[in-house]
Structures are given as structure tokens and as C-alpha cells.
Amino acid sequence: MKRPGSATFVLAALAVIPLVLDDYYVHLLIMAGIFFLPVAGMNLLLAGGQLTLGHTAFFGIGAYTSGLLALHWGVSPLYGMVVAAALSALVGYLLGKVTLRLRGAYFVLVTIGFAEVIRLIATNWIDLTQGPLGLPGVPPFDLGLASFTLKSKRQYYYLILVLSTLAYALCARLLRSRFGRALVAVRQNESLAESVGVSAYRVTLVAMVVACALAGIGGSYYGHYTMFLSPEVFSFYNTVTMVVMVVGGGQATVAGPAVGALVFTFLPELLRMAVFYRMLLYGVILLLAVMFMPRGIVDALQRLRRRPSVPAPETTAPTLDVLVVGKASSVRGDTALRVQNVTVRFGGLTAVDEVTFALARSEILALIGPNGAGKTTVFNVVTGFLTPTAGRVLEDGGVDLTRLPPHEVCRQGLVRMFQKASVFPERTAIENVTIAGYRLGRAGFWAMVFDTPATRREEAELAMRARALLAFTGLANRAHEVAGNLSYGEQRLLALAIALAPGPSVLLLDEPAAGLNPAETQRMMALVQEIRRQGVSVLLVEHDMRMVMGVSDRIIVLNHGRKIAEGRPGDIQRDPEVIRAYLGSGETDARV
């Protein structure tokens, strides 16, 4: 997005600017830098789709931790800041553990509540905090020794510039890494993300911990800079300021929080001349900004600039030599998957009734039946999206999948393609497939932060594999198109490439041919056969009988949740009970 040249230029400008400004503006720049830290953290979490409005709590915890340590025990603010970051991260971890299972508005409101509770503790725990009076005399920041105490505004400015540059680099690396892609995946399509092996809970929890540590550092610096602590740091006004910075700047973009922090620190100050009307005007400007630039300043600026030239379509796409990765190379038995006596009841309705079947290694097994027969429910059970009322699902090595969440099921080599066109709509085709290769990455958190050579190699391999998969599904020339703009048929092919990206040993296809024209269906059939030829077992739910009869080795027929037939395509076509289920009979009609 940004050339390295422009980053260097911005940094150089930020380094020179305080030399020509008076203290008042330097002060504002320091405040922008301090607020940038928590805001960058919020942005990271928001990239994963979770908006926290309790971030002042962590900012305040940081401020009080290192402030109190310095005030009462003479701990150097430098070490106090480390403790503050650690404590904020710990509290954030605990809060996240409890709340990140919540989604959307619930999470937002619970985090507000958390900040409110912390504010009331700071107000009422008089012995520790002197309550609403606040704690004056917090020592100024030093670099570990009293002789390195910061004295002038400029010194404070340069230190916060270093801190926020580091935070910026950290967030930029994370957002552009496999971890960042996983966050985006969770935000855009959580079910799909889970199905390719991303634990929404885990990645957002990591984001939360980083976000809270950053807020703790910002708060700590704030306390030593202002040399005063009061429960006011927890006020909802501060939360509003932070959320305005992150959303107004441009959420989920790398530069957004920095731009937001600068603009929305200076804006209220510029409005000072309006005296009484200052806050009213601030609200009005905010409202107009939300209404006319809902995706933030950075996004609006990018729209103004002409669109970056799209890379030319690839002429020589790499070919894929291994579709299956990992487990399939250590094939143990002849059976890929066993479904044993699975029953699913929704209230009084039995959707699936004692269904048992096995999927052989490298087999294409079709699951057919009239609408409402329970086929998709079986899929949801197998892939962990639904826990059965009774029964078990076993993988070839005997691993019990019955109670595993979807992302764990993916780690066992089972990946599904959803019934509806299921892609990450705002990302390009190539990004979609790269995101879905998440499971194959090995780089840990710090390896991603420091962008180690091993991480780069891995990223290059993942990118290569994504290109190969697009070529395999015939989408190589659409690689840089945004997924939401692809035709329906192309989106289905992309969904297939996404499902293949984690390198499954068992692929579950839910009506892959639904809505496709005959030519596209033919292509899908050829792909499914090629996938099987490479050693992947396929479980197929399909209504298109040409496809079912054309590709399946065996067919299982479900009706009213019960298995009524199992056999080769030719036998199934002649089975009287199957014909009755599909066409209906006088008998069943009478009962209905």
C-alpha cells in the first residue's frame, strides 16, 4: 500500500517538525502519539471484527500501575512501563477469555461495562488512588536512571515518537502476516474462516492481548507525562476519542490509526476558538465525518487517488504437485471417515436419525435425498458446526471428531465447501486462497513480528500454493479481482480453491453444482474427479443428478433423516424405495 520511501519521508518529517514548532503544538503531537498506542491496538482487534469500547480501562490500568509504582516504591518509570504493559495484557487476556465468545454488540457493551467497573474501582478505592481527588506528583519519565529523566517537551516527544513508530511497525507486520489475514477472515466470514482452520476465538484473543499491552504502555507514558493520575482517564469521553480516531482514521487499515490520532487530537484544539460551541461543533464534525466518510480518512484518500494499476494476469501459473498436505501422506487405513449412529434433534424434530456410513480412502461418496432429508445437517455434524444429539464421527486414525470445533476438524484434514457462495467478499481471489492456507503456516507470533527469513520463505510458499490453486480451478486470470465482483460460477470455483487451500485429505462439498450452468457443472465434475485422483476422499451432497451419477463411486440416500439406501449409482437408480422417496407415493401423500 505504501512505498518504503513515503514511510521514511513521513518519519523524517515527524523527526524535524518539533524543532520548528512551539511547545503547545509539541504537546499536541505528544498526546497524539500517546493516544496512537491504544488506538493501534483497538484497530488490530477491529480488524478481527471485534470493537472494544473498554480500552480506556487498559490505558488507565497502565497509567495507575507505573504511576503508583514510581510514586510509592520509587520504581523507574521505564520498568514501571514494562510492568504496566504486562499487567494490562494479563487483564486483557482474562477479560478476552471470558468475553471473546461474544459477538458484535454484546462484546461492545460488555467491554463498556468493564471500563465502567474499573472506573468505579479507581474512584472508590480511596486508599490506593485517593479517589476523585487524584494523585498529583507522579514522577516524570526516566530511562532507568534518575540522571536520564526527561525534562523538556521535545524529549518526551522523541521518546513517544520512538514508541509509536515501534507500535506502528508491530501492527503493520501483524496485519500483513498470516495472523492478520486470519483476523480479516474472521471479520469477513467467520464460518468460512473456522472451516479452513482459523480459531476465531484464539486469533482475536491474541489481538486483544497485544491491544491491551499497547494501551498499557500508552497509559503509563501518559501518567508520567502529565504527572497526575485521576479516575478521569477512564471516562467514556476518552473511549469516544479513541473510537473516533480508529474509525475516523480508517479501521483495519495500517495507516488509519496514526492518521486518526493526529487529526482527532488537533481537531478539538482547532475548535478552541469557538469557545462555548467547541464540543457541539466537534460532535457535528464527527457526525458529518461518519456520514460522508464511513470508512475513514485513509480510505477516502485512497478513493481520491487513482486506482493502483492491477498487476497483469499471470501467463505462467505454477502447477500444483501436491493437493493434499500433511496427514494424507501418512495414510493409515482404507477408511477416511466413519459416521456412526449419528442422530440430531432440534427440539421435537429429528433431522438426522441413526445415520451410519463410512467414506473410503480416495472415494467419491454422494449423499442425496429430497429437500429436508438431513444432508446438510450431516455435513454440519461432520465438520464440527453442530454437535449431534447422539452418535460419533471418527477420522481414519480413530480420532474422535464428534465434539471438535470446526477449526480443529480442519486440522484433522477435513475441509468443507459451503452451500452458498462462501468467500471473503472484500478481498481479491488470490488473497482469498492465501488466507485459506492459514493452517499450513508454521511461523509463530514473534517470527511474524520480526519477519524472519523462515517466515518469508513460508509466505512465499503459501503465495505460490495459492497461485497454483487458482490455476488449478481455472481462475488464474481473475486472481486480482475482488471476490465479491466475481460471477456466481467463478465464486463457486473460488470456494473450491479455498476449501483445497488447507490441503485436506477429506473434502466435503455441499451442492457444488447448485446454480451452475451445464458447462460449469462439467468443469466442476472434472475438478472433483481430478481432486480424487490426487488422493483426496470426497463426500458430496448434490441435487444435480448428472453430477451425482457421473462422478460418484457410491451413493447414500437419506429421507426424513434416515438412510434408506446405499449402493452404486446404477443400483440406486433402480431402488424402488428411492424412487418412492423422490416421486412420492399415494401412501405417503395420504399420511401427509
Binding site: 457493551l109 461495562g113 469516544v240 460532535g283
Partner: protein
């Protein structure tokens, strides 16, 4: 001892009625429009201030003034929906939410300009001498506030269940797309919902504003309370909001009396965090994995 307990419960229920009204408004707006209304507290404040001006300054009859204040807040809600929220429909959740945050900044600061920041009281026409009901004492205005809150809650319930508009609202709540297909004017439903929700917050402000103080920032705490109420009751759950409101009122009243008055305002959220610890799947376990 017991009399004291009963006294606290009764006080809690009266305030809880106000919380329930706030909560119903917020929960309807969220359930139908998927908007978390951060200006809810400001509608509450607006209701109280309009009553203060109409009754206290202009001298209009207290009951008439209350009614006009509530209706005016409803109209303000309709305007906000049409001008601010409708153009933002279809955006990610945080966008309309942020717009209501901005609105709350605007309204609160406008109130500071219109009616200075000092707290005011509404000199309601009820006698200040407490009425003795067996072991407990309640002032008349509180009884009025409690009875009026109950009447409004029942009225809202009937409105949602019985009227055509209420039915359209419930249909939109269940499935907006489907409702549109069968001919529900969804735009009208949204406007009515936001207007109605705002009016309920305004009503709560009228009632609790008569009992307590009236000041521009009074909505902040009220909004916090209604957030707690709707999380406890379940976002979008009408009966849950009533139960949550009454429960929070009583819990606060008892907590302030027997535990600590300083932490009174935290009780709702402490309860929520404890609930989350024991029900990690979410408060009501309704979240299914397939969305």
C-alpha cells in the same frame, strides 16, 4: 429489619421501572434495526429537560407537559432515524453506532448551552410528605413514577402485540428481508421503531427526572444502566428488558444499602461479568455457530 428490606425492594422496583422503559426502547431499536443507540441516554435527558421547561418554566399542567415532552422526544427520534440512520443502513455495525455517539455529544452539549450544566429539580405537584403503606414509606411522586412506568410497559407490550404497526415491527425483527417481501414498509417500521424507542427513553427521563435531578450529563449513567439491562435481558428481547430493568433496580437498591453505595453503579456489569464466567457460551446460549 424486614421492613427495611421491603422498603429497599420497593424503591428498587420503582427505579427499575424507569430502567425497564429505557431497556425496552434500546432493545427494540437493536432487535429491529441492529443499531446500538448510544444517544439513548440523551433522549432520556431530553425528556426530563422538556418537562422541566414546559412545566417548570412555561407553567403548563404537569401531566400535559409530561405527555408533550414524551411525544416531542418521539418526534426527535423519527427525525434522527430519517436524517442520520437511514443513509447509513447497510454499513457495518460500528458506523451507525458511531453516528449515535456523535449525536450524543451534540445533544449533550446543546443541552449545556440551552439549559446550563447545573442540576435542577422539577417541582412536581405531588405532596412531599411520604405515604405510609404498612411498614414502608413512599413519597407520592415515586408511586406515580412506578405506576406510570408499569402502565407504559403494558401499553408498549399491547402496542407491539396488537397493532398492525407492532405486528410489522415483529415481522421485521424476525426477518427484515422476508417482511419486505410480504409487503411490510420496512422504512416506516424503522422510523416508527426508533421514534418509539426514543419516546420510551424520554418517558423514563420524565419519570425519573421528576424523582431525582435534571442535568445535561444525566444520560450518561442512564445509558450505562440500559446497556446493562439489555445485556442481562438479551439484546432484542422485550420481556428480558423488563425483567432486566426491574432486577437491576432492586439489585442496585439492595447493593447500595447492604454492600457499598460507591459500587452501586457497577453492580449491573459485575453481575454480567459473573454470568459470563459461568455461562461462557453467552448469556443466553442462543449464539449458533452457523450464521
Amino acid at each position: 429489619m424486614l421492613a427495611e428490606l421491603v422498603q429497599h425492594v420497593v424503591n428498587g422496583l420503582i427505579i427499575g421501572g424507569g430502567y425497564a422503559l429505557m431497556g425496552i426502547g434500546l432493545t427494540l431499536i437493536f432487535g429491529i434495526m441492529r443499531v446500538v443507540n448510544f444517544a439513548h441516554g440523551e433522549f432520556y435527558m431530553l425528556g426530563a429537560f422538556l418537562l422541566f421547561s414546559l412545566f417548570g418554566t412555561l407553567g403548563i399542567n404537569f401531566f400535559v407537559a409530561s405527555f408533550v415532552a414524551i411525544a416531542a422526544v418521539g418526534v426527535a427520534g423519527a427525525v434522527v432515524e430519517r436524517v442520520i440512520l437511514r443513509p447509513l443502513r447497510g454499513q457495518a455495525m460500528e458506523i451507525p453506532m458511531l453516528a449515535t455517539v456523535a449525536l450524543s455529544v451534540i445533544l449533550q452539549n446543546a443541552a449545556i448551552l440551552a439549559w446550563d450544566p447545573s442540576p435542577k429539580t422539577i417541582r412536581h405537584p405531588f405532596s412531599p410528605i411520604p405515604i405510609v403503606l404498612g411498614p414502608i414509606h413512599v413519597v407520592a411522586i415515586r408511586i406515580f413514577a412506578g405506576v406510570a412506568a408499569v402502565a407504559l410497559i403494558i401499553g408498549s407490550h399491547l402496542f407491539i402485540q396488537r397493532t398492525r404497526l407492532g405486528k410489522a415491527m415483529r415481522a421485521t425483527f424476525q426477518d427484515g428481508e422476508m417482511a419486505r417481501l410480504v409487503g411490510v414498509d420496512v422504512d416506516r417500521v424503522y422510523m416508527a421503531t426508533f421514534s418509539f424507542g426514543a419516546a420510551l427513553a424520554g418517558a423514563s427521563g420524565v419519570l425519573l427526572g421528576s424523582v431525582f435531578w435534571v442535568y445535561p450529563a444525566m444520560g450518561d449513567q442512564a445509558a450505562m444502566k440500559s446497556f446493562a439491562v439489555v445485556i442481562m435481558g438479551g439484546l432484542g428481547d422485550f420481556l428480558g428488558a423488563i425483567a432486566g430493568g426491574l432486577l437491576l433496580g432492586v439489585a442496585e437498591s439492595l447493593g447500595a444499602a447492604y454492600i457499598s453505595s460507591g459500587y452501586k453503579d457497577a453492580i449491573g456489569f459485575i453481575v454480567i461479568i459473573l454470568l459470563l464466567l459461568f455461562r461462557p457460551a453467552g448469556l443466553f446460549g442462543r449464539r449458533d455457530r452457523l450464521r
